[in-house]
């Protein structure tokens, strides 16, 4: 699982995905309605045009039949087919065999229909009662000027476009309407966290600085143990405070990038978290190469490391082990904890996502990691097996 593909920006990203999906589905349905409406409209316009032309064609057909009648009677004297420059025509026998034709497109003739368009012409079929010259069908043809076609398409494009625009605008409004309650809930939670964060800073700093001032060697072992517990609790709150501060403020502040000595920083962070690990009897195995450097905001890389270490402790089993390895271009944090399934790994970077509510936290740690990784183009790879622990690799170009 790579962090670059994961949701790192929270609500706005998922809101965008929801919006795109909804608008996609909505547009598809709108388009279907539009196509259906356009098809019906097109057919109606065509029928209207054919009905108008039919009267004209019926007149031509009558004229042709009169001519055929005369030709049938006087066939022994003259054999000239009745013609008129206003139309072209053809006659067919009862077996649909063409007797004579002046049609432009005789191959398009459909004797089972009455009036239709084909290849730019309009053809009208009339069935005779008396088969003059053996003709059961007369076909009269005129050119289709295509004006109705252009007019119909223009109407479809104009009104269809208008309809689609209104439909889409209504769709976007609906999405905002549906998303409003969810957005309000998230904003409320964000505001609550922000407000709480402000109130945490002073007491936590006071507790930690005062604990550091106590000389534990001078107090009795029982009291020293109690002080240690207070220190663990205070450090946990401090880590949460740092995360919340980052979420509430830091990612909106410009980064102060410089060459950070990762080897030193990681050693410091391990020392800081060792006391938390001791509470669960977790041992640390480190392989940290000296002089590994990265051009990054120190506060941000500290948040990334802290969250990885904090998670490794939080989700580790009692008496477990944490392996930390640092080499140029790669940091590994491995634990022997509860591990995760494939589906859980897929969702691990989502904000407020927790797989073990008993382990505490807000589900923001790995979301922060993903955000920092995305900002600095760091590759996060997680491999995990349920019940065996997890491995988190942070990789960067050297």
């Amino acid at each position: 699982m790579s962090a670059s593909n994961a949701t790192a920006t929270g609500i706005n990203h998922s809101e965008r995905i929801t919006l795109v999906r909804f608008v996609g589905l909505y547009s598809f349905l709108a388009l279907m309605i539009l196509i259906l409406g356009s098809t019906i409209y097109f057919k109606l316009q065509k029928d209207l045009m054919l009905q108008t032309k039919r009267l004209e064609l019926e007149e031509y057909s009558k004229e042709l039949i009169d001519g055929l009648k005369l030709l049938h009677i006087y066939f022994d004297r003259y054999r000239t087919y009745p013609r008129n420059p206003m139309y072209r025509s053809a006659i067919y026998d009862a077996d649909h065999i063409q007797i004579f034709s002046t049609l432009k497109y005789p191959e398009g003739v459909q004797l089972e229909k009455v009036i239709y368009t084909t290849d730019g012409v309009i053809q009208y079929v009339h069935v005779l009662d008396s088969y003059y010259l053996g003709a059961k069908y007369t076909v009269v043809e005129i050119d289709d000027d295509g004006k109705w076609f252009a007019r119909t398409w223009r109407s479809i494009l104009i009104y269809g476009g208008l309809f689609l625009t209104v439909f889409l605008a209504a769709g976007v409004m609906l999405v905002h309407l549906f998303l409003a309650p969810m957005r309000n809930a998230i904003h409320l939670l964000d505001r609550f966290i922000k407000d709480t964060t402000h109130e945490l800073n002073t007491p936590v700093s006071a507790i930690l600085s005062n604990i550091e001032m106590i000389d534990t060697e001078k107090v009795d072992p029982k009291t020293a143990k109690k002080i240690k517990r207070i220190e663990i609790g205070a450090r946990t709150i401090s880590t949460i405070y740092q995360d919340l501060t980052y979420l509430a403020l830091n990612h909106k502040i410009a980064s102060m990038n410089h060459e950070v000595d990762l080897s030193r920083l990681i050693k410091e962070r391990i020392d800081y978290f060792k006391i938390l690990g001791e509470s669960k009897k977790i041992s640390f195995e480190t392989d940290i190469q000296n002089g590994v450097k990265l051009y990054i905001d120190e506060n941000k890389i500290a948040r990334l490391v802290d969250n990885l270490l904090s998670n490794a402790i939080k989700y580790n089993r009692r008496g477990g082990k944490i392996v930390i390895r640092l080499a140029p271009g790669e940091l590994l944090v491995k634990d022997t904890g509860i591990g995760m399934s494939e589906e859980q790994i897929e969702e691990v970077f989502k904000r407020y996502k927790r797989f073990d509510s008993g382990a505490g936290g807000f589900g923001i740690g790995l979301n922060i990691v993903a955000m920092i990784a995305k900002e600095y183009d760091l590759q996060i790879e997680i491999s995990s097996k349920k019940g065996h622990g997890s491995e988190v690799f942070v990789k960067w170009r050297v």
Binding site: H72, F75, R79, D93, A94, D95, I97, Y131, L133, K136
Partner: protein, 112 residues
């Protein structure tokens, strides 16, 4: 060789003539004597039956089983001449005679 060619040509001419004779001998001869032109009947058949297949079928039916109801002649003609006698031609000859009748009178290719 020349004798063979002459023999073959004579045979073909004889065969064609005999085919035409079936129609001439059995149809034209009688109608000519009665002054009832066959061409007029052809157009009556066309007017009623339209296609080649249907015209030929109707003719064959009528010639085999002449009935007043199936006749296209007018009442006057029927009163004067009565129904024509039932054809005694073999099926093959009757078909040939009808084919020739169709070919001589059909409108296909004659309309200008």
């Amino acid at each position: 060789m020349a004798r063979l060619i002459v023999t073959v040509l004579l045979t073909i001419v004889t065969l064609l003539a005999s085919d035409a004779n079936v129609y001439e001998r059995n149809c034209v001869k009688c109608h000519k004597n009665l002054s009832l032109p066959l061409e007029k009947f052809f157009f009556d058949y066309l007017l009623k039956y339209s296609s080649e297949r249907r015209v030929k079928q109707a003719l064959e039916n009528y010639l085999r089983h002449p009935r007043k109801k199936a006749s296209l002649s007018t009442e006057e003609v029927l009163l004067r001449y009565g129904l024509m006698p039932k054809s005694t031609l073999s099926n093959k000859d009757l078909e040939k005679a009808i084919d020739i009748y169709w070919e001589r009178n059909k409108v296909f290719g004659k309309i200008e």
